[in-house]
């Protein structure tokens, strides 16, 4: 018995010397902080609903779904992409906006056709689909306007098609 008493006494004293009463709180706090980082891990992010639409089609083709109302050269063929300007050009902040239906999910998305400006016309991949295009007297809905008027240079080079939102559906909101 004496041996057992001594053994546990020695173990208890060792533990008391190596730890403190606040150590437990510290441990709990550390585990809470650790747990809070779990949602940041890639596995958790991958499970979230993607904000950008699912893609299908070729962005360098006029048939690509985002180009339903385009009238101009595709930046994707000119050294840029469907949402970035080619090097050496400036994206006009002033733009014309319409909606296109994504064939993958069947939803309508708001598309901003920002023109890229500052270099002469790109000259390749000319597309003219004009869905929803209105005459010039409805200038905010006409793609015949030179939207480079909002950039520092009004020389038109090519057009992008950027998704800026999901179209509001009066029927599904009720």
């Amino acid at each position: 018995m004496n041996f057992i008493d001594k053994f546990f006494e020695k173990r208890a004293r060792t533990v008391a010397q190596l730890s403190n009463r606040r150590g437990f709180i510290k441990g709990v706090a550390a585990s809470l902080v650790g747990a809070s980082t779990i949602p940041l891990l890639p596995v958790a992010r991958a499970s979230e609903t993607p904000k950008l639409p699912q893609e299908a089609g070729d962005p360098s083709s006029c048939d690509y779904w985002r180009y339903c109302a385009i009238d101009g050269f595709l930046c994707d063929c000119c050294g840029g992409s469907y949402n970035t300007c080619p090097p050496g050009t400036e994206m006009s902040p002033i733009t014309w906006i319409g909606t296109c239906q994504n064939p993958v999910d069947g939803r309508n998305y708001v598309i901003s056709y920002n023109d890229c400006c500052g270099k002469t016309q790109c000259g390749t991949c000319l597309c003219q689909r004009d869905e929803g295009d209105r005459p010039l007297y409805r200038s905010d809905k006409s793609n015949d306007v030179n939207w480079c008027l909002g950039a520092s240079s009004s020389v038109y080079h090519c057009s992008t098609a950027i998704v800026v939102g999901i179209a509001f559906d009066e029927g599904s909101s009720k």
Partner: protein, 143 residues
């Protein structure tokens, strides 16, 4: 004396309730945002900053609620008055823009635009805007 206080209290209560009832905001924010994107954002940019000759809405639009003429301007400006939005949706998107972009420029006792008010004001659209707006802004700055 206490009877007079009760009557006075009842009058104050009644008047605040009627103001609140007149100033209730009916808004579908999803529809308002979509209409802003479709009919305003092309020029006023996604966050209302504007650019070049496009006026800055962000942190400024609320100043136009300081007096009646400036308040009417926001409806009579061609982009509003001539838009294809109906009166209800135009009132909605104006209220949404003020709350979304106005920041500190919005007065605390903001009176929301109503459908009837917008319907009446847009009957008199402005034809010349730049000089008119400049004079308005000068008036607002004086105050």
């Amino acid at each position: 004396m206490w009877q007079r206080k009760i009557v006075l209290g009842a009058c104050v209560l009644w008047s605040t309730q009627s103001v609140a009832a007149d100033n209730q905001l009916k808004m579908n924010t999803d529809r308002a945002k979509f209409n802003y994107q479709m009919f305003c954002q092309g020029c006023h940019t996604p966050d209302g900053t504007g650019g070049k000759s496009v006026p800055k809405i962000k942190d400024h639009i609320g100043y136009f609620l300081q007096n009646q003429v400036a308040r009417e301007y926001l409806v009579r400006v061609p982009g509003s008055a001539n838009s294809s939005l109906n009166d209800e949706q135009l009132a909605e998107v104006l209220n949404w823009m003020i709350l979304e972009f106005g920041g500190k420029s919005v007065p605390q006792n903001m009176q929301y635009y109503t459908t009837d008010e917008v319907a009446k004001l847009r009957q008199a659209p402005l034809f010349e805007v730049v000089d008119y707006r400049e004079k308005l802004v000068k008036q607002l700055l004086v105050k």
